[in-house]
């Protein structure tokens, strides 16, 4: 057990070192997030009767700000955990990693720590910027909000593992798949607008995606359940769905990854790219 932990710690250390050795990338990604927030906020304010001088209603700020937090986590998970397997494949280090006695899963899980740390910082920073731009954000039921965030993130990491499995199969097409998932999430899970804005046919699909309930319950809880929120189901039902998503998705993702990994080893396609 202690050996497994030490391998895991070494891999987390390696990921941190890589991150710190590209300071331009580090700083650029930070500023990029703020620019995206400013652009979305300004675009939203174009629909306000007072324009940029207006203070957005708390529900509008809450919907966009808390939805954005889940969006960057999903985005970073897909790129950082899922697509990173492809990076190892391209660099030619994936096969070597599998020949070493180190835990293969630790390599994947070590990226979760980086995502939690770095995206966590970005989320806090972006909430602060949005709060300044919109004249404050609603913040209620912090404890339950944190629980829902953690469960949603746990489910999201499970999706990241499942996507890593897909990456081993589809190789170069993984880049397109990441984009599709990301943009699919932007529409179907409504992180930047209320679900009420979706046409009924699309809303029906949204209801089938557990992460939609993560977005809805997380922001509704932090906004203190204003009228019309949560939009998809009563909060009790949403909490159960999000909990099940957070508990079941990681083992499912790991199982899928192990299956894809064994399959790639058997077929000798690990180092193919």
């Amino acid at each position: 057990m202690s050996k497994h932990l030490s391998v895991f710690a070494a891999m987390v250390h390696k990921e941190f070192l890589i991150m710190l050795r590209y300071p331009i990338e580090f700083v650029a990604s930070f500023f990029q997030v703020f620019l995206i927030i400013i652009i979305i906020t300004l675009a939203g304010l174009m629909f306000s009767s007072e324009g940029v001088g207006a203070e957005a209603p708390p529900e509008v700020g809450g919907v966009v700000a808390y939805g954005f937090v889940l969006f960057i986590y999903l985005s970073d998970t897909l790129w950082g955990i899922g697509f990173n397997v492809r990076r190892e494949q391209k660099q030619g280090t994936l096969e070597q990693l599998y020949l070493s006695p180190a835990s293969k899963f630790a390599s994947l899980a070590s990226r979760v720590v980086i995502t939690l740390f770095w995206t966590g910082l970005l989320s806090l920073g972006s909430l602060l910027v949005m709060s300044l731009l919109l004249g404050g954000l609603p913040l209620q039921n912090g404890g339950l909000g944190l629980y829902l965030l953690l469960m949603s993130l746990s489910g999201t990491f499970g999706m990241g593992f499942a996507f890593a499995a897909l990456t081993l199969r589809i190789k170069e097409a993984a880049q397109t798949a990441v984009n599709m998932l990301q943009f699919g999430f932007m529409v179907l899970c409504a992180p930047f607008f209320p679900f009420a804005a979706l046409p009924p046919a699309i809303l029906a699909i949204s209801r089938l995606i557990p992460l939609s309930y993560g977005v809805d319950s997380f922001r509704s809880t932090l906004m203190g359940y204003p009228e019309g929120f949560p939009e998809l189901a009563p909060i009790g039902t949403e909490i159960i769905i999000v909990t099940l998503f957070g508990l079941l998705m990681p083992p499912l993702g790991v199982w899928l990854y192990r299956w894809a990994e064994d399959d790639a080893r058997r077929r000798g396609t690990l180092s193919e790219y």
Partner: protein
């Protein structure tokens, strides 16, 4: 003994080389249809975000509020134009920058610099491929978007709008030479280009008029050709108002960019390129 004399490539030969590069790139991308589909979907999704947010929050007043802030009630076309010009601009940056980085990573950049074909000739080929791909995807996405949201895509002066796009492409691709220089110099520059694409979209007013920005930021934005491109297209199609009141005056500014930016871009690119050649930097990645 037969004497070999080196003749520099003629214009015709350069043009052939550039077109061959364009053809190569287009054949390559045709093998990744999923990527092409995404290039159409991305601006559609991107434009939908503020539209859905605006509709949900402003309700029946969405169009009236939008008109008070931007000068048009047609927020669908306004957002779609913004998102699609953004696609053209980011395609330009990524395709040129990624071409250089790809050659660097695969170890063929040094070889390219040893052939009689100049890097600018090949870059022109890449730029042509990028323009065909970027403008093509943007037009398709615009028409599909208008179809989905049920607005007329062919309102206003379509020809003037196209003129703004076509004239704006040359200064835009001249600017990409600056990005090419950054890639040559910094190498692992994905994050920088990523950041720059958002800086550019902010400055050109992707989803809002630049008049809402502070004066200093407005001045910086006006020094940037895509700002004139996007406002020209919006004014021609939606009548939001040209910066100088008349379309030909705004177009004249774009022409000025067209005459100046290629020399600036070329000068910077050549300078970085020569510096790297002299200091063993070309083969490094």
């Amino acid at each position: 003994m037969r004497e070999f004399v080196y003749h520099p490539p003629t214009f015709r030969q350069k043009l052939d080389a550039a077109l061959a590069e364009t053809r190569l790139r287009l054949i390559n991308i045709s093998r990744y249809p999923g990527q092409l589909v995404m290039e159409i979907i991305i601006p559609l999704v991107f434009a939908s975000m503020p539209m859905l947010l605006g509709r949900a929050t402003a309700g029946a007043d969405a169009a009236a509020n939008f008109e008070a802030n931007t000068g048009t009630t047609n927020y669908v076309a306004y957002m779609l134009i913004g998102a699609n010009i953004f696609t053209i601009v980011t395609s330009a940056f990524w395709h040129v920058a990624y071409w250089l980085r790809f050659e660097q990573e695969t170890g063929t950049l040094e070889s390219i610099y040893l052939t009689p074909t100049s890097s600018v000739t090949l870059l022109s080929g890449v730029a042509l491929h990028s323009a065909i791909r970027g403008v093509g995807s943007a037009l398709i996405a615009y028409f599909i978007g208008c179809l989905i949201y049920r607005v007329n895509p062919l309102q206003g002066d379509v020809l003037i709008a196209l003129l703004f796009i076509l004239v704006g492409l040359i200064p835009l691709y001249s600017l990409t030479l600056l990005f090419g220089a950054v890639v040559l110099k910094v190498k692992e520059s994905n994050a920088l280009i990523n950041l720059m694409q958002w800086v550019v979209s902010f400055l050109m007013g992707i989803f809002f008029p630049i008049a809402i920005l502070p004066k200093v930021v407005q001045l910086i934005a006006l020094a940037f050709p895509p700002t004139w491109m996007i406002n020209g297209v919006r004014s021609a199609l939606l009548g939001v108002g040209f910066f100088f009141g008349e379309w030909y005056l705004d177009l004249a500014v774009l022409w000025t960019f067209l005459l100046i930016t290629p020399y600036v871009g070329m000068w910077v690119f050549r300078r970085v390129e020569n510096n790297l050649r002299r200091n063993e930097g070309m083969g490094q990645f």
